[in-house]
Amino acid sequence: MFADYDQIMERLSVNQLWDFPGGVHPEQKKSLSNQHNIEAMPLASAYYVPVKQHIGVHGELLVEVGDHVLKGQALTNNEQSMAVPVHAPSSGTVTNIAEHVSAHPSGIPELTVTIEPDGQDQWISLKPVPDFTKVASVDLINMICEAGISGLGGAGFPTHIKTTSVQPTEFLIINGIECEPYISSDDRLMREHAWQIRQGIDILVHILQPKQVLVAVEDNKPEALETMAIACQQKDNYQVVSVPTKYPAGGEKQLIQVLTSREVPANGLPSDVACIMYNVGTCYAIADAIVEGKPLIKRVVTITGEAVQTPKNVWARLGTPVEELLESAGYLANKQKEARVVMGGPMMGFAITSTKTPVVKITNCLLVPSDEELPHIDDERACIRCSACADACPVSLLPQQMFWYSKAKELDKAQEYHLFDCIECGACAYVCPSEIPLVHYYRQAKADIRNQQEEKAKSEKAKIRFEARKARLQREKEEREEKHRLAAEARKSSMTKDGGAAKDKIAAALARAKAKKEALAKQAVADTTTPSEKTTNETSARSTNQATVSTEQTSKQTKQDKDSDKKAKVAAAIAKAKAKKTKQAAGVVDETSAPSSKKKKNSPITKIPEDTNESEVPAAESEKAKAAELKKKRVAAALAKAKAKKAREAKAAKQKQTEAAEANNNQGEENN
């Protein structure tokens, strides 16, 4: 297990701490920006509020373009558990809800609400809680969530989720370390607002009921240490601890290790070792949310670096575009060959892609370095296996091995070296004599692994769905066959059951059909005698013949009668077939009645009783045919369109591929 509570308290009482392995001591450079009070910012001309500024999912939008919003009004809801709302930074009009460049290393656009302030800066009605000790924990947690608070230290984990901890807490650790060089936002906040931070701590204590509160501040911030000590002096179980300056002492797991010697297990949480940690900025925001009822709409941002005239700390409203901050600090373009602005510190920050990038909840610093200050890493050289990185790693990993396998895309091997325990602190890259951007490779490898895992999960799902569908189709087929079989059986059995009656019925039906046929045939004879000349002639001739013969032999006549019967039938059939043919021809040619009538005249059957009917049928049919043709044409057009589209797409895809390949090549060359 881990060191027990009393043991830890004993050591802490004499100010003896532990240490974490590795670590580096980069130049601090904090005095650039920490000399002056935090300044307020004038209203920006527009605020770009991304709907997702934390780890998790974003809430559903509550506003529409054109809506007038008040300062502090929620723009998204928090119905889902991992959702944290965002709020309007000032009163004004929602002018746009669209994708906007994100405060992410990729700069990939994300859904963002644009608000143009009206200059009134009018708050919504606030609901402060005068005495939070009388409010139940769940309600307080709910208020924290509604105020849109997620960790302000860097990771951006939703605070209400962290606070809903089920495990009992021994140490509530307040992180005022701020170990990264240049950044001084927490420093200034502690110096100027120690009392409000203390209020935030009180609220957390009320919710979490820890045994001990540790406020950890690095020893390079003596003023902050003092103000925090004064703010916390009335409370017995609050202790302000001065932590030796070493990067990255502010990492969650590292700080816990320094203060308590407990190690958070891999894939574990601080709650596994009965600790919980909040950033000082988060405490300030919690106090704001509960005591004042104000949601999180602003934060302290350090603007620093040698390429700004007056490095300083400002209260920046969330959504303020970076360009306004640069302007307020006086950006010196001549100090940079290529414009470069880093969001975050020099160790863990990232270069932003656009000056329109908004300040978000985790933006603690804007570093605008001169070219000499933070050189471009262009000339990565081969690893000389000096193992300086392994000595610097605070997690005791083997960075050179992870780098090797990450670069070679042997992701399994990289994971064997505990790639996912890397906190991306950048200590290894800082010490590397070959200037290898090691963390960059880890991030790439991690992203690859995550995407692959997602892909695997997805393909697994697809497999299940595919198999389920196959089973369903099979089942349906079997059911259908079963039904048919049953129906057939039923028919058979009913036939055998009252077989006699059925047979009689069938016989009767057959007889009826026969009779009908005969009657029809006779009628046909009568019909054909008149219309077809040939047949008339023949029949009349025969009839005269018959007349002469009839007197002699009646028996013969009956025979003849039968003969003529048969012939008439044949003639009728021929006539019918011919009529049908003409009809078909008329239908196929689908011209007006003129050619069809001509055909009819040509045909030996001169008189067709349903003449009028006939001409109508082709007309209707021709219409149908026209419609069919139209449809055919349309389908053809659609097909052509589709083909064109496909061809285009294929071309585009090819082009993209070649481009991507080129880009890859380029990058490969750059890297080499």
Partner: protein, 189 residues
């Protein structure tokens, strides 16, 4: 006599141990992952049929029976490499006769053009399309494998295959593939 005796003993011992081994082989038989299952787990489960078989499982069976491993375009080189490792054969380039590796896409129905013929539903191997006769149809993007099989059956050609856009959380830290802003991007640490 002595030689005969020792031979007998050795023969007896062989029999006894043989019997023990035989029994153990049956009694402690390890239910190994059948080869087809392993191959199927590597295939991307797009179920597109581009390999010439009606789905990934049938192709997995075919591979187990000695078919080529380079017929799966959606899986691409990565799948071929994994299959080669599993089967202990040489990895070879993708057989172009079955198609080329493409970027990831999902189907999208232009809904106001859909006539509700249900043809695409019948074509979709993973039931990723919702709809009913004479009703508008739509695609469950999360379930769509991008197999392309629904595009051809559509009589009014209202299904598009659109490339999947990467969002920030799926970005692979490839700086050459970021939207161009007004600051040229360079990695920091």
């Amino acid at each position: 006599m002595f030689t005969f005796g020792s031979l007998l003993i050795v023969a007896l011992l062989a029999l006894v141990f043989g019997a023990i081994l035989g029994f153990a082989a049956i009694r402690f038989k390890v239910e190994g992952d059948p080869l087809v299952e392993q191959i199927d787990a590597i295939l991307p489960q797009t179920q597109c049929g581009q390999c010439g078989y009606p789905g990934c499982k049938p192709y997995a069976e075919a591979i187990a029976n000695g078919d080529d491993i380079n017929k799966c375009p959606p899986g691409g080189e990565a799948t071929i490499k994994e299959l080669a490792d599993l089967m202990g054969v040489e990895a070879k380039p993708l057989d172009a006769a079955h198609g080329v590796e493409d970027i990831k896409k999902v189907a999208f129905i232009r809904e106001d053009e859909c006539i509700g013929c249900t043809k695409c539903i019948q074509a979709c191997p993973v039931d990723a399309i919702i709809g009913a006769a004479k009703q508008m149809h739509t695609i469950i993007t999360d379930e769509c494998t991008g197999c392309d099989l629904c595009v051809d059956p559509c009589p009014v050609d209202c299904i598009d295959m659109i490339p999947v856009e990467v969002d920030a959380s799926h970005w692979e830290w490839n700086f050459s593939k970021v939207p161009v802003g007004d600051i040229p991007i360079k990695q920091v640490s």
